[in-house]
Structure formats: C-alpha cells, structure tokens
C-alpha cells in the first residue's frame, strides 16, 4: 500500500482509504474468500469466515441497523466475548458513520448503565442472554437506549420485550433494504471521513469514574500502517482473546488485521484460550503481564508433576537459557559451547515447550499495561520468544515506545516510536504529542483540558530516557512515594517482584510515610492448591487455604527471597518487606479493589483494609476482620476471618541491628 492517509486530511476525495470500512472493502477486493478474516472455534472445530463472507454479514447488518434508525454519529454499545459477529457489528456501525463503544463483558450492571447512559447509546449489541439480561435491567435508567440486539437466541426465546431483536432479524431487514437500494452500503462507506470517530474506549479508571476516550479512524489507520512497517509484518495470524473493550484488542483485531489482511482467531470460550492458543499457534500475541505470568505458572506446575527425568532436563536447560539471557542482557559475549548447549536445549526443551504453549510460530509478542517481573520476561525471551515490553496507552492511540528487534531489554520499553513526539517534563512525567493521539474525552471538557500541557498529553507515568534513548517507566507519578525516613519507595516495583513467585497472585505493598515496608498478599489458588494437595493438606477454599500455617511458611520463604534480591541493590535495600499477611479473599474488580485490567486501587484498599494495615504496623501477630464480597449480579455477602501476620527474616535482621 502506497497511500498513507493522514488524520488531518479530512477533506480527502471520496473513495480514499481513510476509514476502517473503506479499508475493509479494499481488503475484501484483495483477498475475497481465499483468505479467512475470522476463525471461530465452535462445536469443537475451527470455523472460518472469509473476507467476502464477512463483508456480506457487515453489509446486511449495517443496512438492518439503518432501518432501525441508526444515524451518523450514533453510539452503539457492544458487549460480549470476542466473536466475529461482534467485530462485524463494529464495522457495520462505522460504515454508517456510527461509533462503536465496546464494554467490558464482566462489568456489573451499574458500570454498564453508567457507560450506556454517558455515551448516549441508542443501540446495544450483545452476545447472549447473560448480557441481554443486564441491558434489560438497566433499560429504565438509560432513557436514550432504544434497541437491544442479541447474537445468541438461547434462553431469550420467551422474552416479550419489543425492543429486543435478534442479529439475524436485523440482518434480514437489511437484506430487504438492500434489495430496494443495492448500493446503499457502498454509498454510506464513501461518506466516511478520517476525522470521524472510529471508537470510544472507556478507560477503566484507577481514579474516579471511567472516561470515554475518543479515537478517530485516521489515528488508527496511521498507527496501524506505521506499526506494520516498524515491525516488518506481513500476513499474520492473531488471537482475539483480550476484552473487546480494551483499545489494544480494537487496534489488533480490527485495525492491524484490516490493514495487514490478518486472520483473527476467536477462542471457543474464555476458559479454553490456552488450548485454542496451542491449536492456532498465532504469529502475533499480545498479553498483559498476568497472562504471561499465568503461562509461566502453568509450566511450573506441570513440571512439578512431571517425571523426574523430564523435570531434571527442564531445570537444567532452563537454567542454562536464563544464564545466557542474563549475559545477553548485560551485553556480554556468549561462548561457542554455551551456544551449542543452547541449540541442544532448543531441540530437547525450548522447542517442545513453546510448541505445547502454542507460541512457537510467534513473530511478535507484546506485553503492556503493567510492568512485568524481569524474571518472567527473561524466561520467555530465553525460550527464543521475541517478547517485548511496549509502552502504550489508550489516549495515545496506543503505542508510544516499542523495542527494536535485536535491542530488547527487560528494564526498558525501547525507544519512542518514530510517529510520536515524546519528552519528559521537568518533574519526571512522560509527555507525548503526535498524529495518533485521541481527540478528547467524551463529554468531559474539563478532563480533556487537564490532560494536556502545552499541547502535550500528560501520561501520568513517571519515567526517563536512558543514555541509549530507551524509555524507562518507574511507576505512576502519583504512586511513587517515600518512607518516613525519606527512602524512595515504588510499590509497584515491589509488588511485581512478589508476584513473580508462582504462589503469589496479587500483592499490595504499603510504606508511604511509614517506618518500613509491609505487604498484603493473595496466594495463587491453583498453584498453592496443587502444592497443598501434593502434601495432603486438606482445605475447603481460598479463605481456608490462605490461613494454613504451612502456606504461611511457604509464602514466607518466597518473601524472604524477594527481600534478598532487594537487599542486593543499593537503591532498594531500604525497602525490604518486614511484615506481611495473606488476605482472606482474592482482590476482585467486583469489589473495586483492583480495576478490570487488574491494577491495584491503592486509595480504596488503604481505606477498606485500614484495620489490617494498622495491625501490620503494630506488634500484633494476628488480626480479625470481615470483608464484603460482591457477586457478579451485584449482591453482597460478608466473609469473616482471623488473619495471621508474619515477620520476615529482614525484620529480625533490622531488630537485631537496632
């Protein structure tokens, strides 16, 4: 493709490839049904939908939506798992000049009602009964909502609501319209402009209410083209498994896929992703750190259960690969012997292992959203997977810094991408400017104004550019804090270190204006559960298992390990964890303790677990508590528990020293 539409170019002549629907039709002309746009696993088999077939679906759906009165600028909320039909719904909406607003499918009603109402959506496209039920119950609080369209009719057969329509019925109405006006769809697409909104993504909001980030067609088309060039991508295969509401999925599964003519694979269900991954073997894989951590945990658990010969082989070769990786990280030369041994390892361990995970065809593996534990990162890179930690943000039209092949490091996000202008403010905040940026927050002029400083967008992240021009992000600006004695303390850094342990799932490090650092932990139910089973420790559930003294011993050893590595570095030796407890419940987005993208909400937790935190800074060896648990349907229940508090080796050391 030689034309590069620029977002500012709103007066471009008709028919130029300046919107997603236009680019989509171009891709259809090129690939027809010879190549699959979507593959979806259904009834245990991968069903494939060609580009031509997809167009037919989008065309009839768009026509059908217009018979229901969808006009340019109307918002359409889309809720469900990653399904071809929902992506087609996005394209159909865009074709009519409407704006898709994807929502997190596991949101509770209250959250959905806020967005549906705030976006003034007249249409909602849902996957199934579960989501339709939520929409029916919020219908009254969202007066502008007119139509609810569902894909899967199961369980909805006897619903009487007249505003509830099936996807098929809407498409049928569309077919009627297209019989009368055959060129309807193409006309609508030709009217699209690059400065029209392509999508509104609501940010999860670690602070306050969600904000609707408005992004134009031009933004995405530009950054899709640029990324395609930057990473030298061709015809790729990707896995669409991350929430559709997350901008990254929109960028990959629609943006990049349409620009590059990719095949997008939709897993059978949320719980089969890992199996489906193995069957597809995508060439691009995007996962937040927790997905990679899960993969690592699964591997480690499996190895514990493997025969001793496999286990020995695994540990020997992984150890070797990790040592080589550490050398590469430090830019040291590796010897011939080491490299030969690595090749042997590839044959015996790394190859088969990546194959089992479905990662052996990967050209590109990205992680973003949270910092990744360096050991997790090294583990995957040492297996020969081109894993990169990128720096991206919804508001930035996603990518800001991407490591270059051949120069990927565990402690940086690589250089800023060429199509963006990035600088660091005097206070250490990362600022950016560029054509891929968002155009503002929906109906929130105040926040939009506040987000910019002299034409630059304030990311809210503290970071710096190192001597090679690589971006290093330390933490959120507001989260970098200090202990009572002034020692700098970056909680997220500690938490990531803790979370590298396969037994620790979530961690909250506390220390701001305190004499020392303490932590509240969540154990990984799967990993610790399997550990307990092997030792014949009986337990009834998370709460019970978390308070077993053997589990405390296990976790104590892990915390001591983290402390040992903290003590090695001069910058971090003052922030070793002196006391900790294991929480009686898992931190859960339904309880507002973490965001849907699993970021810890410090303020909220500080308030909710005040009593526990006070106990951590007293001499108490246990503390009793009760906490509210919210179920997905909004009901609540109380969980009571008596929590043990443990001192670490670092604490004993500090007391003896004093």
């Amino acid at each position: 493709m030689s034309t590069h539409p620029v977002p500012e170019d709103s007066g471009s002549p008709k028919g130029q490839l300046n919107t997603f629907p236009a680019m989509f039709m171009e891709a259809v002309r090129r690939y027809g049904d010879k190549r699959a746009f979507f593959q979806e696993k259904e009834y245990g088999i991968w069903q494939s939908y060609g580009w031509g077939e997809s167009l037919e679906n989008v065309r009839t759906l768009a026509a059908g939506l217009s018979t229901l009165g969808l006009k340019r600028g109307d918002k359409v909320c889309i809720v469900g798992d990653n399904r071809p039909h929902l992506y087609w719904g996005m394209l159909a909406t865009q074709a009519l000049g409407g704006v898709p607003v994807p929502l997190y499918q596991d949101s509770i009603e209250k959250e959905m009602a806020f967005i549906v109402d705030h976006a003034e959506a007249r249409f909602v496209l849902v996957e199934d009964q579960e989501q339709a039920d939520k929409m029916l119950s919020i219908k009254d609080t969202c007066p502008r909502l007119e139509w609810v369209i569902y894909k899967d009719p199961r369980g909805l057969r006897n619903y009487q609501e007249t505003y509830l329509l099936s996807y098929a019925a809407v498409q049928e109405a569309g077919r009627e319209l297209l019989k009368r006006t055959p060129g309807f769809f193409e006309d609508q697409v030709a009217r699209g402009r690059s400065d029209e909104l392509a999508v509104i993504c609501y940010t999860s909001g670690t602070t306050g209410v969600p904000k609707g980030v408005m992004l134009c067609h031009g933004n995405f088309i530009l950054s899709s083209h640029e990324l395609q060039k930057y990473e030298a991508l061709g015809n790729e295969s990707i896995m669409a498994y991350l929430p559709m509401a997350w901008v990254g999925d929109f960028f990959l599964s629609l943006g990049l896929a349409i620009v590059g003519g990719y095949t997008v694979n939709c897993p059978e269900s949320g719980s089969t992703v890992m199996q489906d991954l193995k069957e597809i073997g995508p060439t691009i894989f995007f996962g937040p750190p927790r997905i990679w951590e899960n993969l690592l945990t699964t591997v480690m658990i499996r190895m514990e259960d493997a025969s001793w010969i496999k286990r020995r082989m695994f540990h020997y070769f992984i150890g070797h690969a990790m040592r080589m990786q550490k050398k590469i990280n430090r830019h040291q030369k590796t010897g011939l012997g080491e490299r030969l041994l690595y090749q042997l390892g590839r044959l015996l361990v790394y190859g088969p292992l990546t194959d089992r995970l479905g990662l052996n065809r990967l050209k590109l593996a990205y992680t973003a959203g949270e910092a990744m534990g360096p050991d997790t990162f090294d583990f995957f890179r040492s297996l020969g997977i081109n894993l990169k930690q990128i720096y991206a943000m919804t508001e930035a039209g996603i990518f800001m810094a991407v490591p270059m092949n051949g120069d990927v490091r565990s402690d940086t996000n690589g250089p800023p991408v060429p199509w963006i202008d990035l600088k660091i403010s005097p206070s250490g905040e990362v600022l950016i400017r560029g054509p891929g940026m968002f155009t503002g927050y929906l109906k929130n002029e105040e926040a939009t104004q506040g987000a910019f400083q002299d034409g630059y967008f304030k990311t809210g992240d503290a970071g710096f550019l190192d001597k090679d021009g690589h971006l290093v992000i330390i933490d959120r600006v507001k989260d970098v804090s200090h202990l009572q004695d002034g020692t700098m303390f970056a909680p997220k850094f500690l938490e990531n270190k803790l979370k590298f342990s396969p037994y620790i799932k979530e961690a909250v490090a506390i220390g701001q204006a305190r004499p020392f650092v303490t932590a509240m932990l969540n154990i990984d139910l799967e990993a610790v559960g399997s550990w307990a089973e092997r030792r014949n420790i009986a337990f009834t559930g998370y709460t019970d298992l978390a308070q077993k003294s053997q589990v405390y011993e296990l976790v104590l050893a892990e915390v001591n390990k983290v402390n040992a590595s903290l003590a090695e570095e001069e910058r971090t030796q003052g922030t070793t964890i002196r006391r900790f407890l294991i929480l009686h419940k898992e931190l859960d987005p339904d309880d507002e303790e973490i965001t849907r993208t699993r970021k810890v909400r410090r303020g909220f937790i500080g308030e909710k677990y005040k009593a526990l935190i006070e106990a951590l800074y007293s001499d108490a060896t246990n503390v009793s508590t009760e906490a509210k648990v919210t179920f997905e349907d909004g009901r609540t229940a109380m969980v009571k528990a008596n929590l043990e508090i443990r001192n670490t080796a670092a604490d004993t050391g500090a007391r003896e020293g004093a």
């Binding site: 259904e42 009834y43 245990g44 088999i45 199961r154 369980g155 057969r157 006897n158 059978e268 269900s269 719980s271 089969t272 199996q275 179920f631």
Partner: protein, 259 residues
C-alpha cells in the same frame, strides 16, 4: 408459565413399593404433564429416589401401574425406559471416571447408533459418518452447557459441580422426552446452583424436555418448577403449584415449617 392444556406424558397410579418390612411408597399417584418441570420434595427417606427408580424401571412396584406415552405397564424396565426417551442423572454421580467428558457424553448417544458393531470397530464409511453426526450433536450440547474447556479432561479429575454438568449433558445426549434429575444441585455452591438452574430452565425451554427433579433447596424448587409433589413417609401429602404447596398446612408441618 403453566401449560394451557396439560397433556399427560406420564401417569403414576397407586404405586406401592416395599422392601421387606419397609414401606418405601404407598399408594402414590400423580401425573406429569408434557413440557413441565415437576419437583418431588420431602424429608429424607420420604421415598423420592425410590419414586424415580420406579419411573425408570429400576424398581418394580408391588402394586399400581405406570402409564408412559399412553402405554400402561405394571412396571417399567430400564432398557425400555431408555429406549422410550427417559434419561436420568444420579444422586451420587455415575460417570465413567477414567474417561474424558466427551467420551462419557458420547455414551449417551449409544442407543441412537444404528451402524453395526463390525463397521464401528473398523471405523468404515457409514460408521464414520454416523460418528460425525453424533459428535456434532454432542458438541452442540457441550456448547449449550458451557463445558468446552473440559471436553478432553478425564471426569475423575473434574470438580463436583462440573461432573454434575457432564452427567446432565450425557443424559441430554439421549434426546430424552422425560428427564429425571436426582438432586442435581446437592453439594453445590450458590453460583454453581444458579448456573444449574439456568441450564435446567434452558433445557426445558429449548428442547421442550419434560423434567422431574428431586431437590432439597426450597428456593430452587419454588423458583424453577411448575408443579410440586410432596412425599412424606412414602405417601403423597400434597400436589400443586409452588404457591399452593407452600400454603398447604400438612406440608408445613411435615417439611417446610420444621426448624
């Protein structure tokens, strides 16, 4: 949602069953209408499971008769019941523990397989076609009950709630007209129970299957069943809609009001 013109699928007439000196059922009569969900409730040892065992022919009552699909018999026979579209799940799960969920469910299609043993063993043309057809049917059910993730997992390794779901799936694989569920929700947590309720309602809705279930959770019974039959010491003490039963004095004394 009560049936407008109740067509009788099953009729139990004056059934009495005893084991030696123990009278498990005495003179129990009730009808089961097509497409309804009928709950049988009662205290422990009231004869609920025995009643199901009589319906699917596992026990033969000493007196009374069973009329199923217009045919009156002294007693059912298990193989006859299965062939005529009666499927069931058990109080204590009866799956093949070492087999995968998928294989277990495929066994539910056994009666529907027409191709001879030899062709099946050789996996030749017709047998292969038939297997694909049955597999598709089973896959639809797997999708229906949302157990895709455990398709290839040996059932012995599955948690209890999941095993219950696999068992239900196997029963459904028979495409039954009458489904007998023996405590489908026993030992489940709130969330699993809600899932199971939704599946039972969906099955009833989607496939038009008539369902008789035994259940102890009164909330569940009152929520999902069209009618309720109450047994106590082997006798039927009440029958009617959940509301009627709830208001019945005898029932309150025997069961609901206790504790």
């Amino acid at each position: 949602m009560s049936a407008a013109s109740p067509e009788k699928l099953l009729q139990v007439d004056n059934v009495s069953l005893s084991f030696g000196g123990v009278q498990a059922l005495s003179e129990v009569s009730f009808d089961v209408h097509r497409h309804e969900i009928l709950a049988i409730i009662g205290p422990n040892g009231a004869g609920k499971s025995s009643m199901l065992n009589v319906i699917n022919g596992f026990y033969h009552p000493q007196r009374g008769s069973i009329t199923y699909k217009g045919q009156t018999r002294k007693a059912m026979r298990p193989h006859l019941a299965a062939r005529q579209g009666i499927a069931r799940t058990f109080q204590n799960i009866a799956l093949f523990k070492g087999m995968t969920a998928l294989d277990n469910i495929m066994t539910g299609r056994n009666l529907k397989m027409k191709v001879g043993f030899l062709l099946q063993a050789l996996h030749l043309g017709p047998a292969r076609r038939e297997e694909i057809e049955h597999r598709l049917h089973v896959e639809r059910l797997i999708d229906f009950l949302e157990i895709e993730a455990i398709r290839k997992t040996p059932v012995g390794r599955l948690p209890y709630g999941m095993q219950k779901r696999v068992e239900l799936c196997r029963a459904l694989a028979m495409e039954p007209d009458l489904l007998l569920l023996d405590e489908p929700m026993a030992g489940m947590n709130v969330e699993e129970k809600e899932d199971m309720c939704r599946f039972i309602l969906d099955v009833n809705d989607e496939f038009g299957t008539t369902i008789i279930l035994i259940e102890h959770d009164m909330g569940v019974v009152m929520d999902i069943s069209n009618r309720v039959v109450v047994l106590d010491y082997g006798c039927k003490i009440a029958e009617g809609t959940p509301d009627e039963v709830r208001a019945n004095k005898q029932v309150i004394d025997a069961y609901l009001g206790v504790g």
